[in-house]
Amino acid sequence: MGKTLAEKILSEKSDTDAKAGDIVIARVDLAFVQDTTGPLTVRHFQASGMSLANPERTLLFIDHAAPSPNASLSNDHIFLREFSRQSNCIISEAGDGICHQIVAEAYASPGDIIVGADSHTVTSGGLGAFATGMGSSDVAVAFGLGKNWFRVPETFKIEVKGDFPKGVSAKDLVLHLIGKIGADGATYKSLEFHGESVGKMSMAGRFTIANMVVEAGAKVGLFPADKTTREYLEGEGRGNDYRPIKADADAVYEDTIEIDATRLEPTVSRPHTVDNTALAKDLKGTKIQQVVIGTCTNGRLEDLAVAAGILKKRRPVRDLRLIVAPASRSVLLDAIAMGYIAELVEAGAIILPPGCGPCLGLHQGALGDGEACLSTANRNFEGRMGNPKSFIYLASPATAAASALTGEITDPREVL
């Protein structure tokens, strides 16, 4: 009997014949934390009495509150820097970018097991890594033992056929999928992406989809590593990290979900759950006071290109804040070189330093009472952006940019 991608990777890293439902102890190739989960992880780690199994594969990211908005968080950053100095692990500083983007650019390889103290660690599934979010205790143990225990997940096969219509992207696909199966529709499962559309999809699109599988409860979202993956890694100067990996043709799936990409339309998640989806065209007239383009979901070069393409030479309405946060320093540099940043700034955008920006309500764009924001991020929970009396809608970069032009939720096909 063949193996799913999850079974294949967990078998290899545990030296067992792992099948869905098994519990295995598997080697961890990379373990990381960010600045809001890192201090607790380090305290657990220090209490445990362990030493780092692989300092050069242990990463600390300062990205959630970067640069820090207050003294308490600045002191947490000092604590992480001191731990990095003492233990020789790697620290990624404020301004370098979001952990998930940097892990994808510089560290993750197909077939790796990656654990991060952040739920969107799943992003690197886009290049075929078994990447999953864990809490501070689990990551502390991965820091010290270089392994952890995993339940081998059952897998849903997501078969995507056809090309995306104009104005529709990977974000619309994943919002549609979550709307269809629900915010707990894939709890504990692996989502494995197949089909001709997946083969043609850019790495940015794959990362966007993998990033959001946790919003359906999934443990991991896996794409096969193919020619596109190889070209991406070569582009990052990591061609040697490539290896092809895909599920066996006779792998056993718990369920198969078919999506016809040609029938997708620009999709929006309404407050306060990600599965509360609607079509952008049906939300016309919904006023918004802020638009956010960026985050680990949609802060890549391709996303900024789409936004700049819609916004250039057109000034957004004056009573709307347009916030753009590139996912990493390298994305920012590329966007500057391509002219996207100038186009966005001319169109009225506020450019934030590479990092998580206002996504989790810490700083750089908290919402006021009764305000609504359209964001390219991955979560719209009550209170997420700093205020339980505010409203968050989620959409693609194209829908976000089109909505910034009008001050209300707008189907991007109206302006393309």
């Binding site: 033992l145 915010a183 709890t187 209170g383 700093g386």
Partner: protein
């Protein structure tokens, strides 16, 4: 045997309800952080909850972030177990790693304020107020072993490695 009062919440209680990101600056000051537990779901919870009580959710309890601070502040409030119809994956593991039992059962039969008695070994929940009886799903052995030691870090301190 655990005995206490049920504090009932609805479906999809996220980690942002349990401890919002806007309090991230308090994460290295746990006693202050814990004052905000479940504030966005029920702002009176923190003043009502007593040592040994239970948090009772609906489906998909704890969805969202990997922040272990979410089960941590619930535990610090004195809660002795979380009951829900279903629980998000990372939250479930985090709670067990802190020595806080999470029990999957039909919580529709429990009302806010009911007195519950839970037998962890037998896998039963008795609602003393209503007379309803429920059973909860088996916790995997590896998690029971971690729970028995009071959490993952104490487990590793004692055993030095996973003993499965």
């Amino acid at each position: 045997m655990l005995r206490g009062i049920a504090h009932k919440f609805g479906d999809n209680i996220s980690t942002d309800h349990i401890i919002p990101g806007r309090y991230a600056h308090l994460r290295s000051n746990l006693p202050e952080l814990a004052k905000h537990v479940l504030e966005d779901a029920d702002k009176n919870f923190v003043s009502r909850v007593k040592e040994g009580d239970f948090v009772v959710g609906g489906s998909n309890f704890g969805l969202g972030s990997s922040r272990e601070h979410a089960p941590l502040v619930i535990k610090m409030a004195g809660v002795s177990a979380i009951l829900a119809k279903s629980v998000a994956r990372i939250f479930f593991r985090n709670a067990i790693n802190l020595g806080l039992p999470v029990l999957i059962c039909d919580t529709d039969k429990i009302d806010d304020g009911d007195e519950l008695q839970i037998d962890l070994a037998a896998g039963t929940v008795a609602d003393i107020t209503s007379g309803a009886e429920m059973t909860f799903g088996k916790i995997p052995d590896v998690m029971l072993a971690i729970l028995d030691e009071g959490g993952l870090i104490p487990y590793i301190q004692k055993h030095g490695d996973f003993k499965l």
